[in-house]
Symmetry: C2
Subunit: 397 residues, 2 copies
């Protein structure tokens, strides 16, 4: 049969990264391409225990249809936790449980974007956000960004001169793909600019708790006085991604729109998974667990940077993330990232080509490196191979 | 802040049923308004057991990010089960695991509908489907329907004369809200008509396995030779809804579009919940479990009809479903369903007003009654009160 698809489908692509991951999942490839948390720290025994307890204590209730908003006690715990960590002032009524934080991207697009509307983003930014918004036939403008985040003066110019900006999407903590974190002064300056415009801000924050050095900054959401900032959160990196539980934190003025949209998208998120996380947080210390994760990731970041300092002798530079899962390589002028990537694959090592992370710019100078999911010896060997690849590309081999 | 919402949000409403459910959830109200499965049959001990086993046998793997398509062994089991029950010819590559079958409605809307496109539906039909499609700014046309489903000749006329029909949505087994089931001859005649047009058919089937008398009919999907029919299924009614696991069954020609859209909507459905159902189906008999459910629902249907025959003496009629969760009341000419509803609420008993289930028609003659979620004595007392309400409305009280 000949299928006639909606116009919006023209812009949507299957994630290029997913396609690349298929190549890089060959067992002989040492892959820094994924974005997976370290499975060895998933609290599997604790999950087995609380799953048991959930069934015993509230089995039939927790297996029934539930409210779209999510489990009240879990929403309260999330509000309390965000308030403590990021200095926000949330109650459970500001929290909507979502099917992974990815669902927030789709919902925000649905709620705010008409075809042709403009979304402002960092460049580079999270690939799956670009794709989620594309489903709503928007266009993208990249806001000039330095190593502290969006540049407020540039953002102001764009907002003042661009009609139809309907959403600003930012990742303020240990950004995917660069690993950079906005300092508090930059956040304040950003809020001063956006407050002048009635444009909602979507603050994505999957990595904020994975800080292994320095001090956590207050979220944009905590600085917001007018219901402008919508925060996204997830248990995928601090607990485990297989349960697909994330959340939206937003003003009760806009919350009904999200509830309406979520209701028609999937009615509610898994009540069983919500109960497991809720109970885990009651019986165990998520803080202690996150500390363990951070000890491991700090070690891996230190190791990979140590290896890169030794092996990358061609002038390639990298970011020094204070948290999160990723760092960002910049190759010397004239060195094509695509060529480096191909050479890496020849040597059975991989990152993700930087070009995928740009909404509009064509870039051939960068590669994203994930270090959270890899034992030491593979980090050493992988970076050694990558260093060889860099040398050979530079020498024109 | 002043929010500027996308145009599509104008058409979307929070489910009116949800609002009504709030009224009807007062403990003194005997409510036939919901659509909940009987929780006393949820296999809670079995779920506790397999959750334990899943953690022990594959814990860290099952808690990691997973493929968008879903767990291969579960997809295979679903394909096999549908082939056995509904005579289809599916492989696991025809199955996509979704976050409840509700997600399929949102995805189909996204994939096929431009603003102004036409969706053909039965009238009445599933309320949350109307809402899900509205997000894509379509319009609806009701296909004339009798007690055997859509009337093929009428459907043919509409398809021949209406441009921009992009989707046909049907519920062929124990329809929500009417409880009717399309006989096999009607299905064949329907397929003969739609085969002449390149319009996809979405066959929603949450209730098909809940047949307590008569013989299961082959699905439309099983009769499809050209990738035209997309089947929707769910474990919400045969296992439990709290886990939010449903599926799409479709041609591999259209499947990549659904995978793309699901990827940007929530990456994948809970891998833990998928594993629980998969393992349950290996270790226990889902068939035996469904048989238990059907024994209970048959009993409740028999009881409620027996009570209505005794109490509804005003000329009200009802459908006699051979399965599913619902039956459909038609009040005598001149009797307003709204007035009956208000009188029922006075007497602390409730159904759902029929008007909510029509995409376009204004109807004030019907009420949907759910009988799956109610013990015997409450069925008796509820129908007694409803009978009183009917009498009083008829007598103009």
């Amino acid at each position: 049969m000949k299928y006639t698809l909606a116009n919006r489908m023209n812009g949507m692509q299957a994630s290029a990264v997913r396609e690349i991951l298929k190549v890089t999942q060959r067992p002989e490839v040492i892959s820094f391409a994924g974005g997976l948390p370290a499975p060895e720290l998933f609290p599997v025994n604790e999950i087995a225990q609380v799953a048991q307890e959930v069934c015993a204590a509230e089995g039939r209730k927790v297996l029934q249809y539930a409210t779209t908003e999510g489990r009240p006690t879990l929403r309260q715990k999330i509000a309390d936790r965000m308030n403590r960590i990021y200095k926000s002032h949330l109650t459970k009524d500001n929290i909507l449980i979502t099917t992974g934080s990815q669902q927030n991207l789709d919902m925000a697009g649905k709620i705010f974007l008409n075809p042709g509307d403009v979304v402002l983003m960092e460049a580079p930014t999270y690939l799956a956000a670009i794709n989620a918004f594309k489903a709503y036939e928007c266009t993208f403008m990249e806001v000039p960004t330095d190593n502290k985040g969006m540049i407020p003066e540039e953002l102001d110019k764009i907002l003042a001169s661009t009609p139809n900006v309907k959403l600003i999407y930012v990742i303020t903590d240990f950004q995917n793909p660069t690993g950079i974190c906005w300092p508090v002064e930059r956040r304040e300056a950003f809020m001063k600019v956006v407050e002048k415009y009635d444009v909602p801000v979507l603050e994505d924050n999957p990595y904020g708790e994975l800080r292994y050095e320095g001090k956590t900054n207050p979220s944009l959401l905590s600085m917001d006085k007018r219901g402008q900032v919508m925060g996204m959160g997830t248990f995928s990196k601090t607990f485990c991604p297989g349960l697909r539980i994330g959340w939206l934190a937003a003003s009760t003025d806009i919350m009904p729109q999200f509830i309406k949209v979520k209701q028609s998208a999937d009615l509610h998120s898994s009540a069983f998974d919500q109960a497991i996380i809720d109970r885990y947080m009651e019986e165990f210390s998520l803080d202690e667990h996150v500390k363990e994760i951070n000890d491991l990731y700090r070690h891996r970041r230190n190791l990979i940077i140590e290896c890169m300092e030794k092996e990358f002798t061609d002038g390639t530079t990298w970011t020094h993330p204070e948290g999160g899962l990723f760092l960002w390589l910049t190759f010397p002028e004239g060195v094509s990232a695509r060529k480096v990537f191909d050479k890496c694959i020849e040597k059975n090592v991989a990152g993700v080509l930087g070009e995928f992370f740009y909404p509009t710019t064509k870039s051939d100078r960068h590669m994203r490196i994930n270090y959270s999911n890899m034992p030491d010896e593979r980090i050493r060997e992988g970076i050694r191979r990558m260093g060889e690849a860099l040398k050979e590309v530079k020498e024109g081999k």
